[in-house]
Symmetry: C2
Subunit: 311 residues, 2 copies
């Protein structure tokens, strides 16, 4: 029995070693280093993959499970030839915590005017700015799945005013939660910062467009830690150019790595980070994946199980 | 009855209005705007002051209380002619929370390598860096008074590994606490970040000197939110220059405003902020001061009461 590993070349060695340590009696094949796929294909029982090429997974006749190396499922959902085996998302609490801290950092960066203080230092200028209390600084979180909930709770725990919105009703302690498109304008109308934690699917493509941006207070900031395609890039760039938005912090993009020609790289109001908001720690993530492989081996149900959309 | 207000010209108008609103039947005199001090002096019953000139407070024969506009007492302690009236520190939970968030921000800035990502953006470079988990990133907090405790608890609550040190034994949940000079080396030997929250007094002057810095792991970062005189500036600058320390984030200095000739302003490894880690919100602070004035008026004890050092 073998494991197919495809993390798109990112940190292959760490993952290879982590899987080999977890399963000393199984061979681990790195996808783009397999010399003769036709010979190896029948050995593969588990595919530990991310952004895997469409159609490839049907080549493994003995496949028993697909273990994604991330929480998003839009790539696997776009593949029309997925074998009928369990598809398991990777939802690592450590990654989710880091995404919460990423958002908290950029919210504090905006609230406390740290960019202004960085510029003042270059000018050797000593000047304090009045700010509002964190409890009067509102952050609206769009999407209250595992990530959105952690982001909202982390901000609230640290004293910020938090509003949540999700397509479906959700409840969080000390956080006003709204749902459905009817309540969207109400959810965002006070947002000093809007944080996108929505999943990417047919109904969230370009969800953050000029209509939604116009509902925000003038000078709001946008943080995107979910998927680039949820944002209408042209609408965002115009809103920044005409000062409707003061700033965007983007960790994720329609095309990754972000092409060097993208206006985002050089835009003075945009912060680009290379999809690092959730740092994946191989050691903690491989434990979750290994536990799920063992569950499938034992005839138990792995989790969190993904239900592919019906075509 | 009148109130003397001296916030060193900082945000005088806000404080004047806040005090006038709290005490509509009392005159509020701004110290450096008093035309005839000899005429006004006998009216003054309460002095709401910060960094007030030495010796001045003995000029008010009817003084009933000194209400400091901050938590530090080193200026009042340096005045040998303080009348025998209650001296009350301002310990505003809102300010303390903000100091905790300030430290959390700079700890995250260091842990997540945000400065590196800022430079990468200028180069349109997409590259993720591996980091350790927050639970493996150690922050040692020196001084576990009200501020140090809040800083330590805030970091711990957000998942960082925290160690505390104080001159006297202290206990905090989930935080290893050390005390006395005997245990100082043990307290700091794992510190990825050292945070100074010590009070300034005779035994803490230049407490952070080359001896202490040498106990830290190579490449540690220093954050100072307490008082500049606790740091030996020459020792800090050499430790930065010879890479013993990777970075210093300084919010407070021996002389404030920091003189434009200071090396700190232009040092590539130093972040200077203008003593803004604890944002004072006049609205919340004035309530605490007003409550203490009312306590003195009613013959009750104000708090937190400061006991000046015996000469």
């Amino acid at each position: 029995m073998s494991i197919l590993l495809n993390n798109n070349g990112y940190d292959n060695q760490t993952w290879y070693q982590a899987l080999t340590t977890a399963f000393p009696d199984k061979a681990v094949h790195i996808y783009d280093q397999i010399v003769n796929l036709d010979e190896t294909a029948h050995e593969i029982e588990y595919a530990v993959v991310w952004n895997h090429p469409n159609g490839d997974l049907q080549r493994y006749p003995n496949l028993k499970g697909i273990l994604l190396l991330g929480a998003g499922t839009e790539h696997i959902d776009a593949d029309d030839n997925i074998p009928h085996v369990p598809i398991v998302r990777l939802i690592d609490p450590e990654v989710i915590k880091d995404m919460g801290l990423y958002v908290l950092y950029w919210v504090m960066d905006q609230h406390r005017l740290y960019d202004t203080y960085r510029v003042q230092q270059q000018q050797a200028k000593w000047h304090r700015h009045n700010i509002c209390q964190p409890s009067a600084f509102n952050v609206t979180v769009l999407g209250l799945g595992a990530v959105g909930k952690a982001v909202a709770n982390g901000l609230s725990m640290n004293g910020f005013s938090v509003t949540g919105w999700d397509a479906y009703p959700q409840q969080l302690n000390n956080i006003a939660c709204f749902h459905s498109t009817d309540q969207l304008a109400t959810a965002v109308e006070q947002a000093d910062v809007l944080v996108n934690c929505l999943p990417l699917n047919a109904s969230t493509q370009h969800f953050i467009n000029s209509d939604l941006i116009e509902q925000l207070p003038v000078g709001a900031m946008l943080i995107n830690i979910s998927r680039g395609d949820i944002i209408d890039d042209d609408a965002l760039l115009s809103a920044l150019d005409n000062n409707q938005l003061s700033r965007a912090v983007l960790d994720t993009f329609s095309i990754e790595p972000l092409p060097s020609a993208s206006r985002y790289w050089q835009h003075p109001k945009v912060t680009v980070t290379p999809h690092m908001s959730g740092a994946t720690y191989a050691r903690s993530a491989v434990r979750l994946i290994a536990d799920n492989i063992r569950r499938i081996e034992n005839g138990e149900q792995p989790f969190p199980l993904h239900q592919p959309p019906t075509p």
